[in-house]
Each structure stands twice: as structure tokens, then as C-alpha cells.
């Protein structure tokens, strides 16, 4: 039998045919490859969160090989001389070993911690983006809820991880957490003793937190992230308004190759930045804090940044104890309000916001176009109010450090926080609202009268006036131009955004191209826009 010649060029085709015969994937695969993604730099914020989570998983797996989740007492005998001979928990000893006696362990620990901080930060900034642009509106309310849940589950992941090394700082945090649970009316002592397996700290809390931190919480996070991305995929991204962009389409690039390649590159950049931070910037130097002992704490004991607002609310809370004189007497400690009730309200308000807004505006339509924050002053004001509230609380979480560094009375800092918490958010609302209205008005003004050119002309009768470059062509009414309608997108406000000044000069040390001859006199014929900015961009293609 004659052997058939092997045809290399036909292999991919044959394999593809074989696969498709069995699984019928050609059409869905083409749909996937062709899916169109709109692009805007702010869409990367959510991706930073996703990429940090991947890095958290990678570095976390490394750490589990060396970490020992046990509170059995051991005597440290590792490389870090100052703690040698100290009795401590096995968890703390193994965390020290990861830092000093495992090759490359310290950088992994630090990368893990930095990416956790970045994960939470990216979630928050991404949420602000979604909030201020109205991307949470129908049909995306579910994803907004999942997103808020992701923040709180991430919070839980962070806190359980923070407690694992069992060092002086994390033990103090755990002690406060136990006090928070204790403060819950009626069931508090049962909750605490059930979670700690008896009185604080007991002997099992670390192993319980460990299984929560490496299995339960990451599993939950993975499931939520999967649902979050699945919904983004199904519902497609929102997009900014612009020429050709409607509520019913998506304008952008197909997923492959360029969009996907950009994502891959960006992942490596995030990874690289975290590696640099993990190597260069020390974080959570647990060997300086010592093992946790219930009677030791130092000044400037601060939690990670995303917990600081709760620490701040705890510090600002006045000592209001509620006594209930029934039987032996019951008590609701002041700790209950800032640490249980306040987060409860925050979760509820933020999660339900899309429904509250839709109800207030009686808005049942689907929205796929984003809104500029200035166009929705009430929502932008509310957002500014929330951010101010958060910042006052976070700063109050470090008010002892501020008091110390700036030589302010600590009690004055607390009072400033208490007053600031009540006064500043409404003020932020008012100021933001007015700024939004001002920006709106300026947009309308430019649309009606044109862009300021900076050219002052003297009229024959001696008056001076500034020449404006109109955005619209003459409309036949005799006096030049008509006002353009506002399209919900950036209004060009500088001459070079109109192409009138030629392209910006490129090159670092010297220009690599000659600046275009810029016509400056309004008497010149109309200026041709820059060719490469013709398609989807800013205002000029709306002419």
C-alpha cells in the first residue's frame, strides 16, 4: 500500500474540521472572537481588580506550602535573632519562617499583601466609576449588587488573611473583632463564643480563619467574579455617547486580536508593578510587632486601609451606652452602632441605590449609554457626599498619627472628626452640585457661542471683544451660527481640539514633526480637521 504523503499545511484545517464535527463550536467560537468591546481607559479599573485577584491566588498558593495554621505554642529558633527563644504560636513562627527562612518567601508575602490592598482599591475606584457614570442602571442592577458584595467579601478575605500571621498587630485586630461580635444585642456572646470556640482567643480561631481564608472566601469570590464577568459579557459593556454610538449598539474593537492582546499586556503590567512593590516596599513587617499577647499594644496600631473607616467610626462614636433595666439588666454597648449598624446601613444603601434612583426618577428604560457626572448633579453630589463621609472616617482611623505628626491635640482631632462627619458631607453635596451646574452651563455656552480663541479685537468705536470660534456652521439667519444641541459628550473647549491649531507636537527632546501652520485669524477659511481624528472621537465629527 502506498503511503500517503503527510500534508503539513492541511493539519490545522483537518484538526479544526475534526473538532467541529464533534463539538459544533465554529459558530459560537466566531461569535466570541468577533464580540465587540468599546474601549475607554476607565474600563481598566475593574480589570486591575481582576488581575490583582489572579495574583492573589498565585502568591497565596505559594504561602500555603509554608504556613502552619496552628496556635500551639512553640519556641522560635529561626534566623531572626531578636525573637529567638521567644514562645509564640506556630502560626506566627511559620510566618516568620516564610519571611526569613524560605527562599523568596518574603517577596511572596509582600506581593500577596500588596495585591490584596490593590484588589480592594481597584474595586473601590471601579465602583466609583460605575456609580458616577450611571453604569449601574437597568439592565445592570444585578451586577451592581454583585459588585458591592464583592467589596464586602473582599473585606472578609482581607480581614481573615490579616489575622493569620498571629502577630501583635493582627491579634489586636482580632480582639477588636471579637468585641464587635460581643456587642451585638441578645446573641453577641453566643456568636463570639461559637466563632472562637469559647473565650477569646481560644485555640482554634487561627485554623478556622485559615480554612475560611484559603477555601470558603476565595471560593465565594471566584463564584461572584464569575457571575460578574458573565453578566458583563452577556449584557455587553456600556459606552460613552458619541457619534454613531446609540443605546442599541456597541462601538469598539472586536475582541481578537487587538483588544485581547491589550488585556494580556495590561495584566503583565499590573503583575510587574505588584512585583516591584513586593520587592521594594516593605509591608506588614510582622517581626517588628512580635507575637500577639493580650497585654501588649503600641500606639499607631492601624488596620489595612479598607478597614480604617470602621476604626474611624469607632473612634468618633460618643460613649453612649443603652441600659435596659429588665431583670438583671441588659446593655447595648456603644461599639454596636459604628461597627455593626453603620456597615449594615452602608451595605443596604449602596446595594439598593440603583432601585432607589430608578424609583425616584420613575425610570424603567434600559440604559447602555453612560452619563457624564456633570449631567446628573444630584447623583454626583450624593457620590461626593459618600466619598467625603468615607474620607473623614478613614482619616479619623488614623487621627492619633495625625495628632502626633502635626502636634494637634488628640481630643481635638476626635472632635474635628465628629463635627466634620456631620458637616462636610452635606457641604460636599452642595459644592459638587453647584460645580456640576457650572460645568453644564459652560458646555452650553461654548455650544452657543463657540470656543474662546484668546484673540481680542478692537472695534472701530473703541470697544474690545474676544473672538469666538463657532462650532456650528452658519445657519442662514444672517448673524453667523446657530447653537448646537448638547449630545452628552465632551464639548471641545480649546482651539487645538478643533484641529484649528494643528496637531500637538510629538517627540521627547525635540519635535519629530513640523508643527502645522496654524491659522489664527478668524478671517481664514475653515480649518480641515486632523485626518486621523475623523472617526469616533470627540466633538468635531459632530459638525
Amino acid at each position: 500500500m502506498k503511503r500517503r504523503k503527510f500534508d503539513k499545511a492541511a493539519v490545522p484545517g483537518n484538526v479544526a474540521r475534526g473538532v467541529d464535527d464533534r463539538f459544533q463550536v465554529a459558530t459560537p467560537l466566531r461569535r466570541l472572537l468577533n464580540k465587540v468591546f468599546p474601549d475607554h481607559w476607565s474600563f481598566l479599573l475593574g480589570e486591575i481588580a481582576l488581575f490583582s485577584f489572579v495574583i492573589l491566588l498565585l502568591t497565596g498558593v505559594f504561602l500555603t506550602f509554608f504556613y502552619e495554621p496552628a496556635m500551639t505554642e512553640v519556641v522560635y529558633n529561626g534566623s531572626y535573632a531578636p525573637l529567638r527563644g521567644t514562645p509564640m504560636s506556630a502560626a506566627y513562627a511559620s510566618s516568620l519562617d516564610i519571611s526569613f527562612d524560605v527562599r523568596g518567601g518574603l517577596i511572596m508575602r509582600q506581593m500577596h499583601h500588596w495585591s490584596a490592598l490593590l484588589f480592594m482599591a481597584a474595586i473601590v475606584v471601579h465602583m466609583l466609576r460605575v456609580f458616577f457614570t450611571g453604569a449601574f442602571r437597568k439592565p445592570r442592577e444585578t451586577n451592581w449588587i454583585i459588585g458591592s458584595l464583592l467589596f464586602w467579601v473582599g473585606f472578609l478575605a482581607g480581614f481573615t488573611g490579616y489575622s493569620l500571621p498571629d502577630d501583635g498587630l493582627s491579634g489586636t485586630g482580632l480582639r477588636i473583632a471579637s468585641a464587635i461580635m460581643l456587642s451585638i444585642p441578645v446573641i453577641g456572646s453566643w456568636v463570639t463564643s461559637s466563632i472562637f470556640g469559647g473565650e477569646f482567643p481560644g485555640t482554634i480561631i487561627i485554623s478556622r480563619f485559615y480554612i475560611a481564608h484559603v477555601l470558603l472566601v476565595p471560593g465565594l469570590l471566584l463564584a461572584l467574579i464569575g457571575a460578574h464577568l458573565g453578566l458583563v459579557f452577556k449584557q455587553k459593556h456600556t459606552q460613552w455617547p458619541g457619534p454613531g454610538r446609540t443605546n442599541g449598539n456597541v462601538v469598539g474593537e472586536r475582541m481578537f486580536p487587538r483588544y485581547a492582546i491589550k488585556q494580556g499586556g495590561f495584566f503583565m503590567v499590573v503583575f510587574g508593578v505588584i512585583a516591584l512593590m513586593g520587592g521594594l516596599f516593605q509591608i506588614n513587617p510582622i517581626w517588628l510587632f512580635g507575637p500577639y499577647e493580650a497585654w501588649v499594644v503600641s500606639a499607631a496600631s492601624q488596620p489595612d486601609w479598607y478597614v480604617m473607616f470602621l476604626d474611624g467610626s469607632t473612634r468618633l462614636m460618643p460613649a453612649w451606652e443603652i441600659n435596659i433595666p429588665i431583670g438583671d439588666g441588659y446593655v447595648i454597648p456603644p461599639l454596636f452602632w459604628p461597627t455593626v449598624v453603620l456597615p449594615g446601613i452602608l451595605v443596604g444603601l449602596s446595594t439598593l441605590y440603583p432601585f432607589l434612583e430608578a424609583r425616584r426618577l420613575k425610570d424603567t428604560r434600559s440604559h447602555n449609554l453612560l452619563q457624564r457626572p456633570r449631567d446628573v448633579p444630584a447623583r454626583t453630589g450624593l457620590g461626593a457626599m459618600a466619598v467625603t463621609f468615607f474620607i473623614v472616617l478613614t482619616l479619623s482611623g488614623a487621627n492619633d498619627v495625625i495628632a502626633d505628626k502635626f502636634q494637634i491635640s488628640l481630643n481635638a482631632m476626635t472632635w474635628a472628626g465628629r463635627i466634620g462627619l456631620l458637616v462636610l458631607p452635606p457641604l460636599a453635596y452642595y459644592v459638587t452640585y453647584r460645580i456640576c451646574l457650572g460645568l453644564q452651563q459652560h458646555d452650553r455656552e461654548v455650544l452657543a457661542h463657540g470656543v474662546e480663541t484668546g484673540i481680542i479685537r478692537r472695534l472701530p468705536d473703541g470697544r474690545f471683544e474676544e473672538v469666538h470660534q463657532p462650532l456650528a456652521a452658519a445657519d442662514g439667519h444672517g448673524d453667523g451660527h446657530g447653537a448646537l444641541p448638547y449630545a452628552g459628550w465632551v464639548v471641545p473647549k480649546k482651539m487645538n481640539r478643533l484641529g484649528a491649531l494643528g496637531p500637538a507636537i510629538r517627540g521627547f527632546f525635540y519635535p519629530i514633526e513640523k508643527p502645522a501652520e496654524a491659522p489664527v485669524s478668524p478671517g481664514h477659511p475653515p480649518v480641515e480637521p486632523r485626518p486621523e481624528r475623523e472617526e469616533i472621537g470627540s466633538g468635531e465629527s459632530r459638525r
Partner: protein
């Protein structure tokens, strides 16, 4: 608006036969996209093939990848051969983690920027428009699916035979609880076992033996050990008294100055703690009644004790009354005396609950 009109012009057009000879690859790609309701309205290379700009960009991308190779090799070299074992002082091992970070970071950033430059600068730019099909499920389909589901429910016949449904619910609800019971039940722990919330290590032993106040290293404390105006942290002199097993027990033993001690004694008498002090010595729980941090910053001049976690401040000369911050309850006072051998002992356990507050605290 050009893009939009062009897109609209494509609506309602005949599908292209992809088997037509002479079609370019891009024609087929565009046709595929059209079948997915995607219109590629703009597609152009950013650099002319073979141009100087293209060669320059290629070199840039290549050098990013080569940089990655160098940095990754450097990472491996550092990882293997750099002295990494910790030694006190300022040896080369202090550079180990920073060097790993720099080499790994540069390697990863090299790939990242290389890929980004490749994707952003070398690949053709495009603008595509995809329809969303918002609410595009035909209302017919909705009706059919809805009716199918309702029909299925009717088939089950629960509507006609309500007892089935009720008994099923009544039967299933406890089964759900059965699933949760082992986990919750296993975790539940009675908080009032051995009266643990209300006792500390200072509770006298079975024979009524009073518990000594000891230091961190277990040595008992004599009055002469604490200088005037000074304070030390003491623990119950029992097994594991110094460890976290008795996290509620750490106590601050303060030697007050004469005038402060008098003031303190008067304040004690007001609340019925007349005999809690011994001489000029007073002992207060170190565990903050607010959130349980050790309140350990003692200001000698004002006799204030500050908790560094939430800034509660207690005035020691007034029975450790909270005078600022979120704490609402005094630090409990430990009644102390000196035994026949001259060491401090606790007369009894704390007479108030130690540590953060909870619902049942009497």
C-alpha cells in the same frame, strides 16, 4: 455620522456567499462579522508594511522582550546565588528581596509593554459596531416560554392537589435545617460555661488560696518593686496565667503618689471600693472595656490611661472613669493586699465584668 449611516446601509442586505471565488480573507472575515450583526466600519493598518516606522516599532517590541529575557535570567541568578539567609546587621541578604522585586518586576513589565506596544501600535486599528438586541427576544418567544413553564407547573397538579404541595413544603423545610444543623450545631459553644465571661485568672483557687500578682516572667511582685508614680503589668500567678489563655487577666498595678492616692481612695469609697487599694497601690484591669485592647499608655502627670486603639481615656484617680472617647464603662478594679510573705495578692476576683461589653452584662 458617517459610520452610522454606513452601518444602517448594511441592514437588510443579502448574505454574501462565502464560496464565491476571488473573495479575500478579509471579505470572509467581514461577512462573518456581519452574520453576528457586527459591522466593521473602519479597518486600517497603523503603519505601512515595510515602512521605517514599522521597523522601528518592531525593534521596540523586540527590545522589550529581550529586556524581559535579561531581567528574568537576572531574577534566576539572584534567586539561586545571591546570599539570602537572614543575618543581623546590614549584609547583602538585605538586598535579596528588593533585587528579586526589581528583576521580576522589570521582566513582567517588559512582557507587558512589549505586548501592549505590539497590540496598540503594530496591529491595524478598527472600529466595529455591534447591535445589542436589547430586549430582542421576540414577544412570541416570551409567551411560549412562559406558557411552557406554567404548563409544567399545571402538569404537576399541585394547584389541584394542594395537600401535595403543603406536605412537600412541610417535609422539606426541616430537611433544609438538617443540612445546616451539623455545621451550626458543631460550632455553637455555650458562652456561660464555667461562668467564663465573668471570671478571670484572679479568682481564688478551690481551697480559697488567694492568687498572687506576678510579672511577665512569673516572679511575684513586692510593693518595693514599683516606684512611686510608676506602674507595671501583672498577671495571675497560676498555670498559664501569663499566656493568652487568660487574655482577660492582664492588670495594671499602679503606685500612686501620696496626694493622688488620697484622692483615689476617696473616689473608691464613693463607689463602695473602700478597701480595694493597698496603701498607695491600686490595680485596674488593663483590658479596655470598649473593644478589649490593652489600655496601656499611662500619663503620670494627669493620671490618665489611654487606649491606643480607639483613644478612650480613663482617669485613674477617679476609679478609672472614662473621660473621653468611645468607652462607656470604668475599668474594673482588682482588690489587692499583701500576703504574709510580703507579696501582692488579689483579695478576690474582679467584682465587675472584665473586657468589652456584651448584652447580658449585669
Amino acid at each position: 455620522m458617517t459610520t452610522h449611516t454606513e452601518h444602517q446601509a448594511q441592514q437588510g442586505r443579502e448574505p454574501l456567499d462565502v464560496n464565491t471565488p476571488g473573495l479575500s480573507q478579509f471579505d470572509i472575515v467581514r461577512e462573518g462579522a456581519r452574520r453576528d450583526d457586527i459591522e466593521i466600519v473602519h479597518y486600517e493598518p497603523q503603519v505601512a508594511p515595510g515602512s521605517k516606522a514599522e521597523r522601528r516599532l518592531t525593534r521596540t517590541v523586540a527590545s522589550f522582550f529581550l529586556l524581559t529575557g535579561l531581567a528574568a535570567t537576572a531574577f534566576l541568578v539572584v534567586y539561586i546565588w545571591w546570599p539570602w539567609e537572614y543575618h543581623a546587621g546590614s549584609g547583602g541578604d538585605k538586598w535579596y528581596t528588593p533585587l528579586l522585586g526589581v528583576t521580576l518586576g522589570v521582566a513582567l513589565l517588559g512582557i507587558g509593554f512589549g505586548i501592549l506596544t505590539w497590540g496598540k501600535k503594530l496591529l491595524p486599528k478598527e472600529v466595529s459596531i455591534q447591535d445589542r438586541h436589547e430586549g430582542a427576544v421576540a414577544s412570541d418567544d416570551r409567551i411560549i416560554t412562559g406558557q411552557t413553564m406554567l404548563y409544567m407547573a399545571d402538569e404537576l397538579g399541585v394547584k389541584r392537589r394542594p395537600l401535595l404541595g403543603i406536605s412537600l413544603l412541610a417535609g422539606l423545610a426541616p430537611v433544609g435545617a438538617v443540612a445546616a444543623a451539623p455545621l451550626v450545631g458543631g460550632l455553637i459553644s455555650q458562652p456561660h460555661k464555667n461562668n467564663q465571661m465573668f471570671t478571670t485568672g484572679f479568682a481564688p483557687a478551690e481551697g480559697g488560696q488567694k492568687v498572687r500578682l506576678v510579672r511577665e516572667d512569673g516572679r511575684p511582685v513586692r510593693p518595693a518593686d514599683v516606684s512611686t508614680g510608676g506602674q507595671i503589668t501583672v498577671f495571675p500567678g497560676i498555670d498559664h496565667g501569663v499566656s493568652n489563655l487568660h487574655a482577660d487577666s492582664p492588670t495594671l498595678l499602679i503606685h500612686l503618689r501620696d496626694s493622688d492616692a488620697q484622692e483615689s481612695r476617696r473616689a473608691n469609697e464613693r463607689v463602695g471600693h473602700g478597701d480595694y487599694m493597698w496603701g498607695n497601690y491600686a490595680a485596674y484591669s488593663k483590658i479596655c472595656t470598649h473593644a478589649g485592647c490593652p489600655a496601656s499608655l499611662y500619663e503620670q502627670q494627669t493620671n490618665r490611661l489611654l487606649c491606643p486603639c480607639h483613644q478612650s481615656q480613663f482617669l485613674i484617680t477617679d476609679n478609672a472613669r472614662p473621660i473621653f472617647g468611645p468607652a462607656s464603662r470604668r475599668l474594673p478594679q482588682l482588690p489587692i493586699e499583701v500576703d504574709s510573705e510580703g507579696y501582692f495578692v488579689a483579695k478576690s476576683d474582679y467584682t465587675e465584668t472584665v473586657g468589652p461589653d456584651f448584652w447580658e452584662r449585669p
